[in-house]
């Protein structure tokens, strides 16, 4: 099982963040390797992502089913591989963030292992070597985030709004919000250990990259609105 959690504080009110995030096409293309998105209904979507492992690459179709939808606070979803044997779980958690000084938003990341989600199916017990790898990875993550947090304090350059994208926050930022993105992927089948090994280095940067782009979209847009 591979998991990654990343969190950021945004100079954008909870309501605006939610309005943006709840429209999947607004941000789908920020996913690493995004190729296309098919919205099946208000709960189900099918994503085609291009997995890139070094110089090997493959398109992977993943079905995403929303399982929890709590406006302004939480969305959870299940992942099912359609072209590969994998399952997964993810969630967004949104909450008001405490006010900060005028220097700007503060990037933040949890330095503890994420709490496992409530699931009806039990997760397999990791083998010893796998547990050690996870522990090493977590320690590395903590160190990396320590270094990274400083760079995240600087607001990124505003992103160009995506043509045809649904509405982004339309009001000037009057509040702040705390957004957590958690992703868990569990390759299945006999080749799972190898798939895990290949995917593991990609998931954590993918989560960070994703939230970074969300921030650019939200705060960049807000600033655009401000400027107007």
């Amino acid at each position: 099982m591979i998991e990654a959690e990343y969190a950021i504080d945004l100079d954008t009110p909870v309501e605006d963040v939610w309005r943006y995030v709840e429209v999947i096409p607004n941000w789908a293309h920020y996913m690493v390797g995004f190729q296309k998105l098919q919205i099946v209904d208000d709960r189900r979507s099918i994503w085609t992502l291009r997995g890139d492992v070094g110089i090997l690459a493959r398109d992977v179709d993943i079905q995403v089913d929303i399982t929890t939808w709590e406006p302004m606070s939480r969305a959870e979803f299940q992942l099912t591989g359609l072209t590969e044997r994998l399952t997964g779980y993810g969630r967004f958690e949104l909450s008001p963030a405490p006010a900060v000084s005028a220097e700007g938003a503060t990037g933040d990341a949890r330095d503890s292992a994420p709490a496992p989600p409530e699931r009806s199916t039990s997760a397999p017990t990791p083998a010893g070597w796998w547990r050690r790898l996870v522990q090493r990875l977590a320690a590395r993550l903590v160190r990396w985030l320590g270094r990274r947090s400083a760079s995240l304090t600087a607001p990124p350059a505003p992103a160009e709004p995506r043509p045809g994208a649904a509405s982004a926050p339309g009001a000037p930022a009057t509040g702040r919000s705390h957004l957590v993105f958690y992703l868990q992927i569990e390759p299945q089948g006999p080749m799972a250990p190898m798939i895990e090994l290949l995917m593991r280095p990609m998931v954590e940067p993918a989560a960070q990259d994703f939230l970074g782009k969300l921030r650019q979209a939200l705060e960049g847009k807000a600033k655009d609105v401000d400027a107007a």
């Binding site: 110089i55 090997l56 690459a57 072209t83 299945q188 089948g189 006999p190 080749m191 190898m194 090994l197």
Partner: protein, 538 residues
């Protein structure tokens, strides 16, 4: 980057590295230039086997073999198109080459007693033991260069023994936890291990390697001899003087569409090698007047393409060595007819794919498909699709053979009739049409769990599946013609001083033939060894 060395080797596959190792071990200064950002060339994506007739491992096992038998076999395979001196050079030096690399690297080989020659019923062929295989390699000994070793697309850190135990096309039975653990530790196997050992040996003897450095021209002296190379690197153009010689080991031209169309003369669309094989060495040799040979030939093979998979930014075509031989599947052309023993060695199978119908004015067997039943799907892996994986879009499926045929473009009646006829004989373990399962080669690749013929059984219940196969190759094998020392011949007669070639860039000593598993590497390394020695004694 050095500007003045004894030997410049262009390319970092097994041929180039063996030349570099040999020259460096003989006290020469050697610079290896690799145009790709990674090291290893086509060898990395290979099985790493070496075909060595009358090898010492066979002798130690008390198995009789002789160079005379091997000579008879190669002569038959080459159809009289190859200079006898080249064949003799290979036969007389493949085993000394092996002794040399074993003495100068960590390479250790074991013979595969079960792996038959590719045309095992020809005179002089052997049913096993000429193909030898190495072990695993720990890339951490390479230090920073570890990350420069080309990632492989189809081989994993497993030993021959493990592969034999797990089965080539039963990926679901492999110990993937062990494989992942080895991979995490930087251990590689097969062709990557061969490259790692040769590279490490060459470096220890003082050779240097420079990736991302593409040779674009050969510098010649007043007599037309080659005295150096011009290369492009990240730092700009660089000119390197080669006091003793330049070795072309740049691989084939299979990824250059223009050269393929110009020379191969058949629709080879599915090379299974790294895309950096674009005929650089061929072009440079032409520019200095090299004689060419064997230009219409390649190490042919039918390839499968898992649509969307790429390697180095190009479509990833995978060989089908074992897949075709398994019971429960047949290969048919658009008429629904079989056209060959599916379990035939891949090189000669490829020639059947290139058959041209002059009446209909089309390639008779292109496109073609591997058609199989649900039991086949439940039993074997197709590319990386294990039995429990979702069926991908590139694997057509339908409840009946007729529907399947219509879906992919096969004549439904032809397919139905062919399967009916095939099934009747297959139920008795026979293939009266093509003799599938009769040769020791066929049986080596079959499924031992199926009897009475491990390559045959009737296609059973649906749903049925079809996967298109493409005419591809592991690499081309035509290029500058050489003498028995690997020195390039001039188109005007004589030899070009200072220019040598080995591996897929050169005209193969095996002509149109493919003697057995590892023949590609064996020829490349033997001539690399001969070149290293020839340069050292120049």
């Amino acid at each position: 980057m050095p500007r003045d060395v004894d030997v410049v080797v262009l390319g970092s596959g097994a041929g180039g590295l063996t030349a570099a190792l040999t020259a460096a071990a003989r006290g020469l200064t050697v610079a290896i230039l690799e145009k790709a950002p990674v090291i290893g060339g086509t060898t990395v994506v290979s099985g790493g086997s070496i075909w060595a007739p009358a090898n010492r491992y066979l002798r130690e096992a008390g198995v009789a073999d002789s160079l005379e038998e091997a000579r008879e076999y190669i002569q038959r395979l080459t159809l009289g198109r190859v200079d006898e001196a080249l064949i003799d050079a290979f036969l007389n030096h493949v085993n000394p080459m092996l002794d040399f690399v074993v003495a100068n690297t960590g390479l250790r080989f074991v013979p595969n007693m079960e792996h038959p020659d590719y045309q095992p019923d020809l005179p002089g062929a052997r049913p096993g033991g000429r193909t030898i295989q190495g072990g695993l390699f720990d890339t951490t000994v390479l230090g920073e260069l570890r990350t420069k070793l080309r990632p492989t697309h189809s081989t994993v850190p497993v030993t021959k023994l493990e592969l034999d135990q797990w089965g080539m096309d039963t990926l679901d039975r492999w110990d993937w936890a062990l494989i992942a653990e080895r991979t995490a530790k930087g251990i590689v196997g097969m062709g990557a291990a061969l490259v790692g050992e040769l590279l490490y040996g060459a470096l220890r003897h003082g050779a240097t390697i420079h990736t991302g450095t593409r040779a674009v021209a050969l510098r010649t002296g007043l007599d037309g001899g080659v005295v150096g190379v011009v290369a492009e690197s990240a730092d700009g153009p660089v000119e390197i003087t080669a006091r003793r010689g330049v070795v072309l080991a740049t691989g084939g031209f299979e990824w250059d569409r223009q050269l393929v169309n110009q020379f191969l003369g058949v629709p080879m669309v599915a090379p299974a090698s790294p895309p950096s094989n674009t005929g650089d060495g061929l072009r440079m040799s032409q520019a200095v007047g090299a004689a060419l040979g064997n230009m219409t030939e390649a190490w042919w093979g039918p390839m499968v393409y898992a649509e969307g998979d790429t390697y180095d930014g190009q479509p990833l075509f995978r060989p089908t060595s074992g897949l075709r031989t398994l019971p429960g599947g047949i290969i048919v052309n658009r008429t629904g007819r079989r056209f060959i023993n599916e379990a035939m060695n891949y090189n000669d199978f490829g020639k059947a794919l290139a058959a041209f119908d002059p009446i209909r004015y089309e390639y008779r067997n292109l496109p073609c498909w591997l058609v199989f039943d649900q039991r086949f799907r439940d039993s074997y892996s197709i590319a990386t699709v294990t039995p429990d994986s979702p069926t991908p879009a590139w694997m057509a499926t339908a409840p009946t053979l007729e529907e399947l045929a219509r879906r992919v473009g096969i004549d439904p009646e032809g397919l139905r009739d062919e399967v009916t006829r095939f099934n009747a004989a297959a139920a008795e373990g026979r293939d009266p049409q093509f003799g599938r399962g009769e040769s020791v080669y066929d049986r080596y690749r079959g499924d031992a769990r199926v009897s009475p013929n491990r390559n045959l059984r009737p296609l059973g219940d649906g749903p049925y599946y079809a996967v298109q196969l493409y005419l591809g190759c592991l690499g081309t094998k035509g290029g500058p013609a050489t003498d028995q020392h690997g020195q390039v011949r001039s188109a005007l007669g004589g030899l070009i001083r200072g220019l040598y070639a080995c591996g897929n860039v050169a005209a193969s000593p095996f002509g149109p033939g493919y003697p057995g598993a590892g023949a590609t590497l064996a020829a490349a390394m033997t001539f690399g060894y001969l070149i290293g020695n020839a340069i050292a004694t120049t």
